[in-house]
C-alpha cells in the first residue's frame, strides 16, 4: 500500500484514482484504518486526546470528589463562565502585561550588559562571579524584598520577572559575544569599522542566532515566574486566579487557569521560534 502511495506521487495523473482505491481497500481493515488515521492526524492532537480521556477516566473512577478534581466538561463550563464574566481576559491581560514589561526590561538591560561583559574581558572577570552568585537565587526568594521595595501591584511582579530573565540573558549574551570568531574582528579592523559599525555590522548580527535562543528560553522562565509572583504579590493575573479560586473552592477555575497558562506558554514559545527562524538569523543555521 505504501508502494501505491509512492507511485501516486510519482504519477500525478493517477494519484486520485490510486488514492481512492487504496482508501476502499483500507476500509475493510479496522486496524489499518486506525493506523492511517494516526498517520494523518498531528500527533499532538492524539496525545492531548489521550490526556483528556485519562482525565475523564480518573474523574469517573471517583478517587477524588468532583469538588477536588472536576472533569473536562466541568472545566469547559468553567472556562465559558470565566470568559463571559470577562475575568479570563482581565487576568490573562494582566499576566501578559507583566511578562512583557519585565521581559522587555530584562532584554533592554541584559543584552547590552552581556555585550559589554562579552567584549571586555576585564569587566567579565570582575562581574561574572557576582552574576554567578545571584543566578542560583530563585526569583521567588526575592518576593519579600520586592514587596517591601515596590509595594503591592504590578511593580514587584515586573521586578521579579525582570530578575528571572535578566541573569540568564546577560550570561548567554556575554558567552555569545565571547564566541564570535576572531577572524570577524580582524575583518572589522581591516575595513576600519567605527564603534557603531562594530555593533551594527558585526556584534549584533553575529550573536543574533544564539541570543534568539536564549530570549526564547528566558521568556519561558519569565512566564513561569509571573504565575508564581502573582500568587503572592498581586490581586490580578492567572496566578492570582489560581489562588483566589482555590480559596473559593472553585477547582474548575484552577484547572482553567492552568490550561490557559500552558496554552499561552506554548504560543509565546512558538512566536519566539518563528522569530528565531527569520531571515536575519538564518545564517546561523550553518552552525559556525
Amino acid at each position: 500500500m505504501d508502494e501505491g502511495r509512492k507511485k501516486a506521487v510519482a504519477v500525478p495523473g493517477l494519484s486520485g484514482f490510486t488514492e481512492s482505491l487504496a482508501g476502499r481497500v483500507r476500509a475493510l481493515d479496522p486496524l489499518e484504518k486506525l493506523m492511517d488515521f494516526l498517520r494523518r492526524t498531528p500527533l499532538s492532537v492524539v496525545s492531548f486526546g489521550a490526556i483528556l480521556l485519562l482525565w475523564a477516566a480518573v474523574v469517573r473512577l471517583g478517587v477524588w470528589s468532583e469538588n477536588v478534581l472536576p472533569g473536562p466538561l466541568a472545566a469547559a463550563r468553567g472556562m465559558e463562565e470565566l470568559f463571559r464574566s470577562g475575568l479570563l481576559l482581565k487576568h490573562t491581560a494582566a499576566s501578559l502585561f507583566r511578562v512583557t514589561a519585565g521581559f522587555y526590561l530584562a532584554v533592554l538591560l541584559g543584552v547590552p550588559a552581556g555585550i559589554v561583559l562579552g567584549y571586555f574581558a576585564l569587566a567579565r572577570r570582575a562581574v561574572n562571579p557576582v552574576i554567578q552568585f545571584f543566578r542560583p537565587i530563585s526569583p521567588l526568594a526575592w518576593i519579600p524584598l520586592a514587596m517591601l521595595w515596590f509595594g503591592i501591584g504590578d511593580k514587584p511582579a515586573i521586578f521579579l520577572i525582570f530578575l528571572a530573565s535578566f541573569f540568564p540573558l546577560v550570561v548567554s549574551t556575554a558567552a555569545a559575544v565571547e564566541n564570535i570568531g576572531k577572524t570577524y574582528f580582524q575583518v572589522a579592523a581591516n575595513f576600519a569599522f567605527s564603534r557603531y559599525e562594530m555593533l551594527s555590522l558585526l556584534i549584533f548580527p553575529a550573536i543574533l542566532p544564539s541570543v534568539m535562543v536564549s530570549l526564547r528560553i528566558s521568556l519561558g522562565i519569565a512566564w513561569l515566574v509571573v504565575v508564581a509572583a502573582e500568587m503572592i504579590a498581586v490581586k490580578s493575573g492567572l496566578g492570582f486566579l489560581i489562588i483566589d479560586s482555590r480559596n473559593a473552592l472553585r477547582m474548575d477555575f484552577v484547572l482553567d487557569a492552568m490550561i490557559l497558562i500552558g496554552a499561552i506558554g506554548v504560543i509565546l514559545d512558538a512566536v519566539m521560534l518563528r522569530l528565531a527562524r527569520s531571515r536575519e538569523v538564518l545564517w546561523g543555521a550553518r552552525g559556525r
Binding site: T183, Y184, Q186, V187, A189, N190, F191, A192, E197, L201, L202, P205, A206, L208, E280, L282, W283, G284, A285, R286, R288
Partner: protein, 277 residues
C-alpha cells in the same frame, strides 16, 4: 601628506620593507617534563621569526613558501598590522605599520566573509562610505563580474561553495583598491580546477589593477607561476632561506621552460624533498 603619498608613475622599490624582524610567542601549553625531549616551559618564549629581512617592490606578486608552522601566517599578520608585538622594523611605503588599514586588505586562511551579510553586502564592505548608492551597486557588480560571480549579490555565504566564497572575498578585497593585498593560502582546500581558475583570476586581477600582492602558499607551482618574487623560509626559528626575483616571461609553463624547471628542482630540494623520483 608625505612623499610616499604623491603618485609616481614608476613603481616604488622597497615598497614593503622588513628588517631584522623577530617574533616570539609565549608557550601556553603545560608540557610534561621529559629529560629526553626538553620542551619549553610554560610561559617561556618560543622564537618563531629570527631576524627576517624582506624587500618587496610596488606592484609585485610575492609568494612566500616555507614548511608548516614556520611562521608564514605570523609574518603576514605582522606586515598587515594585526600583530604589533615584535621587534624590528616593518614599513609599507616608508611608513611604519601601526595597525590594520583599509589600504592593506587581508584575505584570510579560513573564510573571512561576514556570514550574516549577503555577497553584495560583503563586497560592498569597503564601499560603505560611498554616497551614491547606484554607483556603489554598480561597483559591487563590476567586481563580482571580475571573479565570475555576476548575479550572486543576494546570496548568503553559506549558500556558496568554498571556492565561490574565496572569490567573493577576493572581490571584496579588490573593490577597495588596496595598496597591498595579503593572501594567506588562498587556494587551499579548493579542488584542482577551481584552484587553477582562481590562480588565473588572481593573475588577471593583478594584471588589471597592478597592486602589490603578498601571498603565502604551500604550492611550489603556484609560487613559480605567479610570483614576481619568491621568498622561502626555513624551519623555526625562521630566517629567509632564499629571496629571489623571478624575471621569467608570462605566460609561464614550468614544463616547457628549462630555467623554470631547474628553479623548481632547487626549490623542492630547499624544502627538503626531491621533485623527480
Amino acid at each position: 601628506m608625505s612623499f610616499a603619498d604623491t603618485k609616481s608613475p614608476a613603481p616604488r622599490e622597497g615598497f614593503i620593507r622588513v628588517r631584522n624582524l623577530r617574533k616570539a610567542y609565549q608557550e601556553r601549553r603545560k608540557a610534561r617534563r621529559d629529560p629526553e625531549y626538553p620542551s619549553p616551559r610554560y610561559g617561556e618564549d618560543i622564537l618563531i621569526l629570527d631576524g627576517v629581512d624582506i624587500d618587496i617592490d610596488e606592484g609585485e606578486i610575492v609568494c612566500i613558501l616555507g614548511p608548516s608552522g614556520c611562521g608564514k601566517s605570523t609574518l603576514l599578520r605582522i606586515i598587515a598590522g594585526f600583530d604589533t608585538s615584535y621587534t624590528g622594523e616593518v614599513s609599507i611605503a616608508g611608513r611604519k605599520v601601526a595597525g590594520p588599514s583599509p589600504h592593506h586588505i587581508f584575505v584570510f586562511q579560513q573564510s573571512g566573509l561576514l556570514d550574516w551579510m549577503t555577497v553584495g553586502g560583503n563586497v560592498g564592505l569597503g564601499l560603505r562610505r560611498m554616497k551614491d548608492k547606484a554607483a556603489k551597486r554598480e561597483k559591487v557588480a563590476e567586481y563580482l563580474e571580475l571573479v565570475d560571480l555576476a548575479g550572486f549579490e543576494d546570496h548568503y555565504p553559506f549558500q556558496l561553495s568554498g571556492g565561490m566564497q574565496r572569490r567573493v572575498e577576493l572581490a571584496r578585497a579588490m573593490a577597495v583598491s588596496p595598496e597591498v593585498l595579503f593572501m594567506d593560502e588562498p587556494f587551499t582546500g579548493l579542488d584542482f580546477l577551481t584552484h587553477m581558475r582562481m590562480r588565473e583570476e588572481v593573475l588577471n586581477l593583478h594584471e588589471y589593477l597592478r597592486k602589490t600582492i603578498v601571498m603565502v602558499t604551500h604550492d611550489i607551482e603556484d609560487a613559480l607561476i605567479m610570483g614576481d618574487r619568491i621568498v622561502i623560509f626555513g624551519n623555526r626559528p625562521t630566517r629567509v632561506k632564499l629571496a629571489r626575483k623571478l624575471e621569467f616571461p608570462r605566460p609561464r609553463d614550468v614544463s616547457s621552460d628549462p630555467d623554470l624547471a631547474e628553479l623548481r628542482r632547487q626549490v623542492y630540494l630547499m624544502m627538503g624533498v626531491h621533485y623527480a623520483l
